[in-house]
């Protein structure tokens, strides 16, 4: 891709310059790329030190920066907490458009990587040999950071879905924990019958959930090859999910509290909502949000359609270096630390790792979490990683696409109509957007 090559060119030039300045007199080790200087450039940059600006929407960003600075005293990292994901994206986009004030390192959701990569706002880390880290991470997270032939970010956490459920609700109603979606819906009906206020799940048509569910069902609605986009939100997998989910929505088995509102918190605390399919990040959030639920919640694998385990990622983020950064090598070094160093993970409690090493760590897997009644939740999560289907791609405008889910797919939920219609409308909006943005669209 033209963009990729120019990216590499810029990064390469910058790295060569840096190398020349710093390593004058030293011989380059054998096997390193002449292009960017590989990982040696990173170590050199660390030795020299400098200042970086890092934007993150999580409080842990600050803690991680501090841990890094403790290890590297000649590096200063200024952290900006952007508050929330959408504010983060907005501020970042503003800075990029204006051309000033762009930070060096950014936290970025997996689903947004393509969006920043396409116009060339991210640095290709291949120049620093970081493509060699492929085997360090899980397949799905690595795929998410490498659209369009390049390494545009390094994974931070991974988010294989699991079904968090309130065991006391199931026990009180004499229900088994469902393992297939059919059982899930049946359990939903049983709950509804016993108490109309209860619901098996809370869902109002959430963008992240929708894409994850389509993913789990085997759908691959988005395919991107450079300037050509293939959009099919009615492919086999999408239909499978929509047809199954229609039953749930039409029968009103779902609660409709907008996530993040007081109603939602209270419903969770009161035991109104029976399950909460989400990524492992929910394990860190639940104890904070649902203090009354201590000991009542457990984790189970996601229900499947036909008994064969299938899964998807739901959220998760990475970090990237911006192409506007004036200290790319140092930034990349920080990135490498963020994604692979145990000290980084320690500063981000509750993060579910994306590194294969952490995921197979005995101690990690054997952790018994009190909130979940002593269950070894990491084991369940780690099992979920293997079932994640391969080949998923996001749209290069996923942030925008997600923003219009509630007015398309969400309307099916609101009116309790066929979700396929909602998906079709979402498709139409996306196709129009793609054409306006100059893409060649195939449906």
């Amino acid at each position: 891709m033209r963009t990729t090559k120019s990216q590499r060119g810029t990064a390469a030039a910058a790295s060569v310059l840096l190398m020349g300045l710093v390593l004058s007199g030293c011989t380059s080790p054998e096997g390193s790329e002449v292009d960017g200087g590989g990982e040696e450039a990173l170590d050199a940059a660390l030795a020299e030190g400098g200042t970086l600006e890092y934007w993150s929407w999580l409080p842990s960003g600050e803690a991680q920066a501090e841990a890094f600075m403790a290890e590297h005293e000649n590096v200063t990292i200024n952290v900006r907490n952007t508050g929330g994901v959408s504010e983060h994206n907005m501020a970042l986009q503003n800075a990029i458009t204006a051309g000033t004030g762009v930070p060096d390192v950014i936290q970025v959701e997996y689903q947004s990587i393509a969006q920043y990569q396409l116009p060339g706002s991210l640095l290709d880390l291949t120049a620093y040999g970081l493509d060699g880290l492929e085997d360090t991470f899980t397949a799905s997270t690595w795929q998410a950071v490498t659209p369009n032939d390049g390494v545009w970010a390094l994974p931070q956490d991974s988010a294989p879905m699991s079904m968090f459920y309130n065991a006391s609700v199931f026990d009180a109603n004499g229900l088994e924990v469902p393992t297939t979606w059919e059982e899930f819906i049946a359990a939903g009906e049983a709950l509804e019958a016993s108490n109309p206020d209860l619901c098996i799940i809370n869902d109002i048509g959430d963008a992240g959930f929708t894409t994850s569910m389509i993913w789990q069902a085997g759908g691959r609605p988005f395919k991107v090859e450079g300037d050509t986009v293939h959009i099919d939100l009615q492919d086999e997998g999408a239909r499978l999910w929509a047809d199954t989910w229609n039953e749930l929505v039409e029968k009103g088995l779902n609660c409709e509290f907008p996530p993040g509102t007081n109603e939602w918190f209270q419903a969770l605390n009161a035991g109104t909502i029976a399950t909460l399919p989400a990524g492992p990040w929910m394990a860190a959030a639940l104890p904070r949000l649902v203090p009354d639920g201590a000991g009542m919640w457990r984790v189970a694998p996601m229900p499947s359609y036909d008994g064969t385990p299938a899964n998807a990622e739901n959220g998760g983020s990475a970090q990237a270096v911006t192409s506007a950064s004036s200290s790319p090598a140092l930034a990349a070094a920080f990135l490498r630390w963020l994604s692979t160093d145990p000290a980084s993970f320690a500063a981000y409690p509750g993060m579910f790792p994306s590194t294969v090493a952490e995921l197979s760590n005995e101690e990690f897997l054997a952790q018994e979490v009190e909130y979940f009644g002593g269950q070894k939740i990491n084991e369940v999560f780690a099992d979920g990683v293997d079932a994640v289907g391969a080949g998923w791609q996001y749209l290069p405008w996923q942030v925008y696409a997600n923003g219009i889910v509630s007015e398309t797919v969400g309307q099916s939920y609101l009116n309790r109509t066929d979700i396929n219609d909602g998906l079709a409308e979402w498709q139409e909006r996306n196709v129009r957007y793609a054409q306006e943005q100059g893409f060649t669209v195939e449906e």
């Binding site: 959408s86 994206n89 907005m90 986009q93 503003n94 458009t97 396409l118 116009p119 109002i204 048509g205 300037d227 907008p258 993040g260 509102t261 007081n262 109603e263 209270q266 290069p396 405008w397 942030v399 925008y400 923003g403 219009i404 509630s406 007015e407 969400g410 309307q411 939920y413 609101l414 957007y433 306006e436 943005q437 100059g438 893409f439």
Partner: protein, 300 residues
Amino acid sequence: MSNVATARPSARRVKTRWAGLWFTIPFLAVFTFVLILPLLYALYLSLFQNRLVGGNTFVGLDNFARVFTDPLFWEGLGRVSVFFVIQVPIMLLLSLVAALVLDSVRLRGTSFFRIAIFLPFAVPSVVAALLWGFMYGEQFGLVGNINDAFGTEIAVMTQDWFLAAIGNIATWGALGYNMLILYSSLKSIPPELYEAAALDGASSWRVAWNIKLPYLRGAAVIALIFSVIGSFHLFNEPNLLKTLVPNLVSTYYTPNMYAYNLSFVGQQTNYAATITIVMGIVTAIIAYVVQLRGNKEALQ
């Protein structure tokens, strides 16, 4: 009014005094920098298109053509028009009643009421949306409390009533402000008019009808124009409440929201600029029409 002094003798020669311009210049300078320049830039933006694939290209009036065939824009425009036609008369009527009662000599506690009703204007939209969002809640809010107490099933944040809910928040915030505009006009009625009315033996109702109301026309037109602008530019309330009812508030709920989301979420800044320019023109036309009609009646 602005005539350069001429050689023709007239009853009152008006002399050009450039000092006036000097007094005005600081304002004009900031105004140009902060309003005119960005406006010109917005106009410039509206003639281009910056695509993810293909970069920046000149497209002439294509964006404007697109606005006219864009169903999302028209839906938003229709919505704020409905809002204008319903919310504004209700709010102005309430403001009028409040102003008249406040002006009445037979009211006690005038100062208290004046400040009390004006207070909501001082509350920022973030806080107002927070307040009303909570109060509208069926679980924890006032609506919920009412339902519990009276066994009713009122639900305000639903498709049918949401626009009205927003209208209520807008009315709450602006009622005192409009009341004050009308009230200050009432306060400037010359005492001679009242004297004449007293000599004629007029009752206070007749005074209100024949003296006060006609006198209010000018202020009412001003209040109406601000309301025109406020309703067509509706943005804060629906945008802030969107988190509470995501499926009810689309990204194109009002034209301003549409432009905002296009700009900051969809990266279609050029089209967003076009929409806001169109909205600016629409608003200006309507405000101008209102002013013309308002003044025409005043002249009758």
